[in-house]
């Protein structure tokens, strides 16, 4: 065999690779491609879940349930007094009036446990100045702020009428954090001025502002609404009930001071007069 023929028979591996048709992807390339597809797939799923959750929570879902009417009867006045002259309120200069009537403004949220606590005192205090209608049974959302469910009044659809004082209440979110009500311009001005951290609740009583509640809901969490109401009606001196009465008496004294001690049935009470003296 000639040298030329022998050379022709010899296979040059480099030439062979260059001339051969495109090779199949090597196992490493196939693995890389699968890995990339997997990453893209996981990314798409993650983004879909994320977007879906934002959409779900932005739609808002009503807490549901049928509203159960509640009575404003929370018993007679007790001799409980706050632990300090103004409780957790701070004297402020800006008045809040509806015509000639001093206003009690409450800004809260249905899920908020401290708001749930404060509503008991607000209902009891204002019942001494006028009449409630449309009160319902409500509750805070379990585990918010580290508390269990705190039963309370539902004030969203309630109305209060009195010849002496006025009530303005705003529940900003319901138990599932859906938006309920919004603040007016004057209410926003009060929040801007006295609630710089945007906390809840905020209570304003013509000359006094409080961010937070007058007492912690620890004592009433987990109880039934009827149990708390019954204890208040009986005049119980239980440790969980006294703070409700003390806060109600403080609110009463503040309103009496603002409206010239009217009506006498509430404002001439010795306990209320003593608290009012401490407000001077």
């Amino acid at each position: 065999m000639s040298k030329k023929a022998r050379r022709a028979d010899v296979v040059n591996p480099v030439e062979q690779r260059q001339q051969a048709p495109g090779p199949r992807p090597r196992p490493r390339q196939r693995r890389t491609r699968r890995s990339a597809l997997l990453q893209v797939g996981v990314g798409v799923v993650a983004i879909a879940i994320l977007v879906g959750s934002f959409v779900y929570y932005s739609l808002g879902h009503s807490s549901g349930g049928v509203a159960i009417a509640a009575s404003a009867d929370l018993g007679t006045m007790t001799a409980d007094t706050p632990t300090s002259p103004t409780g957790n309120f701070t004297p402020v200069s800006a008045p809040l009036r509806s015509g000639q009537k001093p206003v009690l403004l409450f800004v809260g949220a249905q899920w908020c446990p401290y708001c749930a606590a404060e509503r008991w005192s607000i209902v009891k205090a204002l019942a001494r100045f006028g009449s409630w209608s449309g009160l319902t049974i409500g509750q805070s959302t379990d585990r918010k702020g580290g508390f269990g469910v705190v039963p309370t009044y539902g004030l969203t659809t309630a109305t209060f009428s009195s010849p002496y004082v006025a009530y303005e209440g705003k529940e900003l979110q319901d138990n599932s954090s859906a938006t309920l009500q919004s603040l007016t311009a004057s209410e926003q001005a009060l929040v801007d001025r006295y609630d710089s951290k945007g906390s809840l609740p905020m209570v304003y009583v013509d000359g006094y502002a409080m961010v937070g509640a007058g007492y912690t809901p620890t004592g009433i969490q987990g109880q039934a609404f009827s149990a708390i109401q019954s204890q208040l009606q009986r005049g119980s001196s239980a440790a969980s009930i006294e703070p409700i009465n003390a806060e109600a008496n403080l609110l009463t004294a503040m309103l009496c001071k603002a409206d010239g001690d009217r009506p006498g049935t509430a404002c001439s009470n010795a306990t209320i007069q003593a608290i009012e003296q401490g407000l001077q």
């Binding site: 959750s53 932005s58 580290g146 801007d192 951290k197 945007g198 906390s199 809840l200």
Partner: protein
């Protein structure tokens, strides 16, 4: 990715740092979300299961992510995406933890000059979107971990083509 994690956390300094980071971030989340209260009578822990779980997940991801970032930074192979993901993830996670009884976020916004109404609006929005924000924070941190670990693994692995070329050049007869 497993290779990269072994590479980094096989070194005691990174493992110990991760453990300390986990504890520090978890305590920070618990404090800023007011689940951990310091009072005259001592420490009190208000257990909120959903926020507790979110805090643990976010603290774990951050504790895994940051040492990886540091290792990758030393090799100069990390990028804006990975670092930004870590930072954003821990911040967004912290914001979501602050949902219910906020401490840090309102203080920061107040310092920045936001009004009470604006801060209240932010608080309510964060409260409403607790779950999606926590999810977003966790995803950002997880992305940062995977991305950095992949970069580390790619840099430190020997490509098979180079191995074959070396063998062919030195092993086979000419």
């Amino acid at each position: 990715m497993i290779v990269a994690l072994r590479l980094v956390y096989g070194r005691p300094v990174y493992s110990v740092s991760a453990a300390m980071l986990f504890v520090a971030v978890l305590v920070f989340y618990l404090w800023s979300g007011q689940m951990l209260l310091v009072s005259e009578s001592g420490l009190a822990l208000l257990v909120q299961p959903d926020l507790m779980v979110a805090s643990i997940i976010l603290a774990t991801l951050f504790a895994v992510s940051l040492p990886l970032q540091v290792y990758a930074l030393r090799l100069a192979i990390t990028g804006v995406r990975q670092t930004g993901g870590t930072i954003l993830g821990v911040v967004i996670g912290g914001v979501s933890i602050n949902c219910c009884t906020p401490v840090l976020l309102p203080a920061l916004l107040s310092l920045a000059g936001f009004s009470g109404t604006n801060i209240l609006s932010v608080n309510l929005t964060v409260h409403r979107y607790l779950v999606p924000l926590t999810l977003l924070g966790a995803l950002l941190l997880a992305y940062s971990v995977v991305s950095t670990a992949t970069s580390l693994a790619g840099t430190c692995a020997m490509p098979r083509e180079h191995e074959e070329a070396n063998l062919t050049g030195s092993g086979l007869p000419a």
